[in-house]
Homo-oligomer: 211 residues x 3
């Protein structure tokens, strides 16, 4: 760890770590929701909503600190992008949880639980990487990992869309309103995966500049 | 008002005020459109389109000024984000107006007029706040106000989606093509509300830096 | 060409040119795909996918160079935005190509081939403009051209939506699942057109600053 000329504001690091840990908590509740019986889902959706509120406060804290700090540890736009994309992740998770309950869906296609599992693993990887921002340690590995999770998410997404919209011969097709509802949910979960990729790309961008 | 060391370009303030006032005009026409009989709608859609063109010119004027001004009154990226998000608001309003006419919809669900009313109030609040950018006055109040309007918009949006996709027992369900059309319109109006929140967050970010 | 005080990194220019030429290649394959018989489409979709992979590598190369270059030829955020929006163009093209095959669509509405033709022309205009970034030559003309292509794309998009969702009397309506599939594809192609406009606006922004 090199001597630093600029004694910059260190308070950003723990906030990013807390934001990422909060996303792990949201992902855990979302995983329980998609594994639960339909009538038990709303309790977990409430907890995802609570995590989303906690995330909003962390985002706001980061933005206030960003705007009131003269020398930031990395580029202002990188901090802004990192906070925004962490916020996008949890917003999409909350929206998916809410819609599953709102639309009173019955059994979900198993691919949705697999999408949520990808999100959980991306959340854990992100929470483990955040403390490394301060020391610029092992960030390359994290970036590669999230990019491969994003590929896994893409494949799941694509196969869910295919199953929904091109029913296999012999299977009983879903009614169209149900197709519309489930399509919205798998798209929202895919947005969360994409937002994790933006998080990882921003972290990489910070790491390369500091190298 | 403190003495300023940098005699920076003041021409941005009136442009932002005009952009916001133009959005109020668009919101007024959109409110008339959703209150009108179906056959009277296209006239109001034309006026929303006119406002959108006027907004494009204002956005372009701001961007040209931004790119040719050496010392800007606030961060370049904040000016860019503010102009872009004001543009996003009016683009979404215009798209919603256009689609209601294009899709030849009959009676609209009453929730849509309530969404448009939230947009009108957010537009008025924004137009009233813009002159405050120069003096950094009363911006906190504005930010809180738009965030509460955004919450109100979210609740309306969610309840419109529920009504559309989970028909109440006893009510006659809409045909699926109509569901698809109305869903697109309520989503587009929700995008306009979200863009107002981005406007308010950017204003807050400018205010905190200047404080 | 004026004497430059800052001997800045010139390696960005050829990378942007290569990224734009790669998009021309993708657009050519996409044009062949939409002109082909359904059973011949997947071969062209594979080639669009290959171009998208090549584009990802170019984007990554630009970002790494951006993050490791101290003095960039233009604003960091402009380079970031230019690379990101070129990436958005090709991602949307690839997604459209993929979905046409995945959804096993039969004959496509002729408007889709026209959307792709607009994209091809925008891609060619962009590839021709990129070398001009270094000399700041003829960029205004390019910007005007892409903006008019974007208007043409908007009109096509709107008319495709109208035809899909408001079937003409006497025509046999599509089944709703097919409407959903085609709507997604025309929306994705429209996103590619919008991303070309962001490319052009960013180029204009760079040009004005340098003037």
């Amino acid at each position: 760890m090199a001597f630093r000329l600029r004694p910059h504001e260190r308070g950003f690091y723990p906030l990013f770590t807390r934001a990422a840990e909060n996303i792990v908590a949201a992902a855990d509740e979302l995983a329980k929701l998609v594994a639960a019986e339909p009538e038990a889902r709303s309790e977990f959706a409430d907890r995802v909503k609570d995590a989303e509120h906690a995330g909003d406060e962390l985002t706001h804290e980061i933005m206030v600190k960003l705007n009131s700090t003269f020398v930031t540890p990395f580029d202002r736009e990188d901090i802004y992008r990192l906070a925004s994309s962490l916020d996008d992740v949890i917003d999409a998770m909350e929206e998916a949880a809410d819609r599953i309950v709102l639309y009173r869906l019955g059994t979900l296609p198993p691919g949705i639980a697999r999408q949520v599992d990808v999100l959980r693993r991306a959340a854990i990887a992100t929470a483990e990487a955040m403390p490394g921002l301060e020391k610029m340690a092992q960030l390359r590995e994290y970036w590669v990992h999230v990019n491969s999770l994003e590929d896994e998410g893409d494949d799941l997404y694509r196969s869910l869309l295919g199953d929904l919209l091109v029913p296999q011969p012999g299977s009983s097709p879903l009614d169209v309103l149900t197709v519309i509802k489930i399509k919205e949910i798998v798209e929202t979960l895919e947005e969360a995966t994409d937002a994790f990729e933006t998080v990882a790309n921003t972290v990489e961008s910070i790491a390369v500049k500091e190298a």
